[in-house]
């Protein structure tokens, strides 16, 4: 579409006129209500941002790197502000800055891990965060119930589950968003669609909301468990609480919840995938499920192939299980037109999409740079299978988040929803840098546990 003109049907007056990329993309126009509804309101966004930031701020150590890290994570909000105003020529470059920072920062953590001596939570007790975590979960679910909306990602997922429930072909629309996800995504919605049928009184919305809330809760549970995996005993439980708190206070985890999309499922599956690092078949199943839900997580296959130790047997087992998981999911849901139709509806459809929500879409003259970025991402995704040679769980998560961010940076389509894919891992990596000092002080941790925060403490 070259030009889009809206004319009042009663008076004949010209209402709107759109040219350029905004002529073809409603999302790029900054219509009100904004995507995510009240997540965009200052009285929700700013308090959440402060709750996200303040517990980690240490007035005695203003140069603590976590201050900058969390501010950068929040700085997607600057881009979001312009996006909501329909100024995508400003919002798109601004979204790339935090992505690029996080990519570099996470790679530095992966290749030069240096646990900080600073406290995990400098001022407030962890118990306060535990209480705040419960309150914030309640707030998020309440906000979802009273002022969220279901964008096409959510209803497409529910309608896919509805087709499964009715024994229809999952892939029958040739992409166009209704059937463009991997089969696991639709299957994940089946329980919710069974509880709240799309053709029931509340339509597709109730199922989409129930699914989005469940995926969000899965991320929270995953982060609670991750804390205990990264540190032993009470220190681990406290780290888990802090990580889960950071997730629920982060405005961009709320973005996925407020739009009732399926993106938190990707984040949850990846958290559980890294939790299962010690079991090649289990992490393979989880990666396979994530890949058969939204494809992009497959970029983590080389990293998770080797994991922490290089073993031919483990690598073969991992490869076989990933292949089997994806194959079973796809073949069991193959449309009548076979793999060709599946391809056309999913990856083929996506590859042919154009969008103004990336530098590449907004500035087609940068096509050469996108090719360079893609090549670099392929190199990165492959290289992290063997480099760095020695790595712990925290480094692996840093590499995983970095690869996801690299993939997002060179994609033609990007939205704030995708932050939910890498945010759980990135938060775990950046926040778990800290904690040793508070243990030494015995203020919030048992005094004799300080040594477990050494370089070797990460599983």
């Amino acid at each position: 579409m070259i030009v889009d003109v809206h004319v009042d049907g009663r008076s004949g007056r010209l209402l709107e006129l759109w040219t350029g990329p905004q002529a073809d993309t409603l999302l790029a126009r900054g219509y009100d209500p904004s995507v995510g509804r009240s997540q965009n309101a200052w009285y929700v966004w700013l308090p959440l941002g402060l709750l996200f930031l303040l517990p980690f701020m240490d007035p005695r150590r203003p140069k603590r790197l976590i201050h900058l890290d969390l501010l950068v994570l929040l700085s997607f909000g600057v881009s979001q502000y312009f996006f909501n105003r329909g100024q995508i020529d400003v919002s798109v470059p601004l979204q790339c800055i935090p992505l690029a920072y996080l990519l570099v920062r996470l790679l530095l953590v992966a290749f030069r891990p240096r646990p900080s001596g600073g406290p995990l939570i400098p001022v407030v007790p962890v118990a306060w965060l535990a209480i705040a975590l419960v309150l914030l979960v309640g707030f998020r679910i309440t906000l979802n119930a009273i002022d969220s909306h279901v964008i096409d990602v959510g209803y497409a997922s529910v309608f896919g589950a509805d087709r499964v429930q009715h024994g229809e072909d999952l892939y029958q629309r040739g992409g166009d968003l209704d059937d463009t996800y991997g089969p696991i995504m639709y299957l994940a919605y089946v329980p919710f669609e069974a509880l709240f049928p799309a053709d029931g009184p509340s339509g597709y919305r109730a199922a989409a909301r129930a699914a989005a809330i469940t995926f969000d809760l899965l991320v929270i549970v995953g982060l609670l468990m991750l804390g205990s995996r990264m540190r032993r005993g009470r220190a681990g439980r406290e780290l888990g609480i802090v990580l889960a708190y950071a997730w629920v206070a982060y405005p961009f985890s709320l973005y996925a919840l407020q739009t009732n999309t399926n993106d938190a499922l990707v984040g949850a599956l990846l958290v559980f995938g890294f939790l299962a690092m010690s079991s090649p078949p289990l992490r393979a199943v989880l990666l396979g499920l994530a890949a058969a839900a939204k494809f992009a997580p497959l970029a983590l296959a080389p990293l998770l192939l080797t994991g922490r130790r290089r073993s031919v047997r483990d690598a073969m087992l991992f490869s076989g299980v990933v292949l089997a998981t994806v194959s079973v999911a796809v073949l069991a849901n193959l449309p009548n037109g076979g793999l060709r139709e599946f391809w056309d509806a999913t990856l083929g459809y996506q590859l042919s999409r154009e969008s103004p929500f990336s530098l590449w879409g907004l500035h087609p003259e940068l096509a050469w740079a996108q090719i360079v970025a893609k090549a670099g991402t392929v190199l990165l995704a492959v290289a992290v299978a063997v480099w760095p040679r020695e790595r712990d769980l925290r480094q692996l998560m840093a590499l995983g988040a970095a690869v996801l961010i690299a993939v997002q940076l060179c994609a033609s389509y990007w939205l704030y929803l995708y932050i939910a894919w890498f945010a759980p891992l990135a938060l775990a990596v950046l926040i778990s840098t800290y904690g040793s000092e508070s243990q030494q002080q015995g203020r919030t941790f048992a005094p004799n546990r300080s040594k477990i925060l050494s370089d070797q403490s990460y599983v």
Binding site: I2, V3, D4, V5, H6, V7, D8, G9, R10, G12, R13, L14, L17, T19, A23, T25, L26, L27, V35, I151, D152, V153, Y155, A156, D176, L177, D178, T180, Y181, G182, T259, T261, N262, D263, V266, K294, F295, A296, L298, A299, T346, L347, Q350, L351, S355, K374, A375, T377, V378, A381, V407, Q408, C410, A411, S412, Y413, W414, L415, L417, Y418
Partner: protein, 79 residues
């Protein structure tokens, strides 16, 4: 290689997808509740300087008048 990168867009939402749109069957028939015809709406659009510029730039440009249902009001969309 392109496969590996297009997949990120798999989550891509588009406010337009799945939204009901009616195409005007006749340019001279007003839909119920409308005060102007699709032809008059098209004339309003084509009188705009930006549309004239687009026409010069893309001589093959053809206008289509639709009635979008997702704005909740009586409006034409000339695309």
């Amino acid at each position: 290689m392109s496969v590996a990168f297009g997949v990120v867009g798999v989550a891509a939402p588009s406010a337009k997808a799945g939204m009901p749109v009616l195409e005007a069957k006749s340019l001279d028939t007003r839909p119920a509740g409308f005060g102007v015809t699709p032809r008059e709406a098209r004339a309003t659009a084509e009188a705009n300087a930006a549309v004239e510029t687009a026409r010069r730039e893309y001589p093959a440009l053809r206008a289509k008048v639709i009635v979008p249902q997702y704005f909740g009001d009586q409006r034409y969309e000339v695309v």
